[in-house]
Amino acid sequence: MSTTLPLEGVRVVDFTAYWAGPLPSAIMADLGAEVIKIESIQRPDLFRIVAVSGDPMEVYELSPPFNATNRNKLSLTLDLTRPPGVHLFKELVKRSDAVVQNYSPRVMPQFGLAYETLREVNPAIVVTSVSGFGQDGPWRDYVSFAAIGEALSGISGISGYTGEGALIHGVGVSDPFAGYLAAFCTLAAVHHARSTGEGRHVDVSQLEASMQYIADALLEFDLTGHARARTTCDDSPAAPHGAFPTRGEDSWITISVENEEQWRALLDAMGAPVWAAEERFATPLGRLKHRGMLNQHVAQWTAERDRHELARELQERGIPAAPVLAPSDLLQDPALRAAGFFQEVDHPVAGRHPYPSFPALLDGIHPPIRRVGPMLGQDNHYVLSEILGLSEAAIAQLEEDRIIGTRPAF
């Protein structure tokens, strides 16, 4: 059993914005790496303001997704449009294992911080670039957010009601999908660099990441020629299987019957209704063919029941069933409470709020969220003095020149 976090001793320079780039470095920070998030007072991470309403100057420390995504990180401001900022960035690269950045491919070279340059500064540096479409190809400079990766990758083509149009996936799947692969690939390249002294440029795109997660749909098209489409319930080979209304506003339960035993148990739970004796519902194939009618019958039965009680009852009878939980339910969910999944953390401006843990137990414990935020430039002194060895006078000069600072200019 180990009492330390696994990535202690690894340092990451995070030059990211929004979610897809900040997420992988947050995961590394959760696992113990020292992650230094670089913004500038001239151009802070816009995730500080786009997700909240109000005057940017009032809300930039109050963005829930920013504060949650950038947990366990240090904040340094550097104006990279001027030589002293670029110089300090390179000094940090000399002392780091990895850089994670998610600007479009033009941006790093514009600052004089292309991978080729950083490799000269530190041959072992791993530079991970997370982008919409990748570092080359005809679309490399196209603009992307999560929903764009979702649309192009085929995810939107298989997300929605049968026969209806495309929807937006509220989870914003392309961002975390790319972010997770970026975290794994960065760690793999750091592993290699630590033993060989050779870094890598890791090129992760939202579009390509998203396609990997819907492998079943893409493989099916290659193996059978069938291109699946949107269905109100996923293409399960058994029925009933889906979400059914329960008592109360926007209240739902999912039920999945996968075999004869579960079907009989469901009939018992429903009290052997008359309709279920019809011949068309007698076999699995019949139920699958008549799933529309079957679902209507089941929905009538669930409609007046409580989703939590019904889920427990069906589970006791051996049937996969669960209530559909929204954010307000999740904050109260007994399983998440028992696991300590949401950690209450204080923030100097935002106060105390719950934040989700990195979803793995290391020897039985979620990695702690030591701090959230960070506030803009709050670690300027620590990074410049402790890591880079600058004098107080030199730091004061940087402040005066607005290379660093703590008040943004939106």
Binding site: F145, L152, P356
Partner: protein
């Protein structure tokens, strides 16, 4: 060179998609991943659809072919004393064991066999919690993990996407990240760790911090159909030949979109105006999108630096010029069937994709591992085979 993990040995005892995808990530980057399969029947992953030509069979599962790319297959019955002895020797030389069917006892046995081993387990729900024994398909996990509440029209049936790997791979990559981080530490200090990933928690972590948002603001974010809640131009639009998705987040992007679409109306001048008249604003933009094809809209907007995507069907995905130019899909020879074209990944390293490698046939590497690496004789192998151990 993309074999960044070539000095790492992984032993995979998997029955589900999450563990299988986790093993794939290690194998793609050059780790030696030995998939331990049940003699004759193989891993349960081999029984997951889709199948080659739609017909089930141990060597016909697409999920297996994809997730087992680059792994080695060893058949072994660990319940048999000789099988258990072989497993212990494999554990002793491994860095990571991935086990989604393991119990507390088997975990203790792994730790005894090799104290520096990283032991990664996958389960649906956290051990010891109220859902521990609950049954769940991907649908129940999406319901409890906060995903279904975020897809669908408000008040209508909440949805999941029509892809089971989309949710099943999420815990897999989370586990891969944690295990790889732990290998570094185990190598440095000589002690392994136990890592547990609950799919329920992995899915919830993947949603956009909606519970934190609720705590800060009192506003509960839920599915909003064809749009992202409260954002005026982060939504889908009807085009002449299907749908497009705009993800205009900043005012500059929204104003550029208005210009391209010819929307010049005092009612929509400021962000507040647009959000107050969000439906009228959407209708104005739709008049332009409905008169153009997805391709025209995508090109025109992207040329003006507006985040816009066309909604592709599954049969269109591999034909995108960017996907072709980057060579994302890879050609894989499949014994007896010729060439398949599968998604590649996970990423490019110095411009290179990891090389395509096919999945192993059932037990393809049993002899290589047992006699070549562990020193069993051909006669031993024959006996083990007759006893049903391999």
């Amino acid at each position: 060179m993309t074999r960044l993990l070539q000095d790492i040995r992984v032993l995979e005892l998997s029955e589900g998609c999450s563990a299988a995808f986790c093993g794939r990530l290690f194998a793609r980057l050059g780790a030696d991943v030995v998939l331990v399969e049940r003699p004759r029947v193989g891993s349960a992953v081999r029984s997951l659809p889709p199948f080659l030509d739609g017909r089930a069979g141990a060597e016909r599962s697409g999920i297996y072919m994809f997730t087992a790319s680059g792994k080695r297959s060893l058949t072994l019955d660990p319940a048999h004393p000789d099988g258990g002895a072989i497993l212990n020797r494999l554990l002793a030389r491994a860095d990571v064991v991935i086990d989604d069917r393991g119990s507390r006892e088997s975990d203790d046995a792994c730790a005894r066999a090799n104290p520096a081993l990283v032991r990664l387990g996958f389960r649906r729900f956290a051990a010891g919690g109220p859902y521990e024994r609950w049954l769940a398909t991907e649908l129940q996990l999406a319901a409890l993990g906060g995903w279904m509440a975020q897809l669908g029209q408000p008040r209508r049936t909440p949805l999941v996407s029509n892809s089971r790997t989309m949710t099943a791979f999420v815990p897999g990559v989370i586990g891969a990240i944690a295990a790889l981080a732990a290998v570094r530490d185990a190598r440095a200090h000589g002690h392994g760790r136990r890592i547990d990933v609950a799919a329920h928690e992995a899915l919830l972590f993947t949603t956009r911090f909606n519970e934190t948002f609720l705590s800060y603001t009192g506003v509960e974010i839920k599915r909003a159909g064809d749009r992202f809640p409260a954002w005026a131009a982060y939504r889908t639009f009807k085009a002449a030949d299907g749908d497009v998705t705009a993800a205009a987040a900043t005012d500059a992007q929204i104003e550029a979109l208005m210009k391209v679409a010819g929307v010049d109306d005092p009612r929509f001048r400021t962000r507040a105006d647009r959000e107050a008249r969000i439906d009228e604003f959407g209708a104005e933009l739709s008049r332009w999108t409905m008169a153009h094809t997805r391709e025209e809209i995508f090109r025109k907007c992207q040329e003006n630096r507006i985040p816009m995507g066309k909604v592709n069907r599954i049969d269109e995905v591999a034909t995108m010029e960017q996907v072709i130019a980057r060579g994302f899909f890879e050609k894989v020879e499949w014994p007896g069937d010729g060439q398949r074209r599968f998604p590649g990944g996970p990423a490019r390293f110095n411009g290179e994709w990891p090389a395509p490698r096919r999945a192993p046939l059932l037990g393809e590497h049993t002899a290589q591992i047992l006699s070549g690496e562990l020193g069993y004789s051909p006669a031993d192998l024959a006996s083990l085979g007759e006893m049903g151990v391999i």
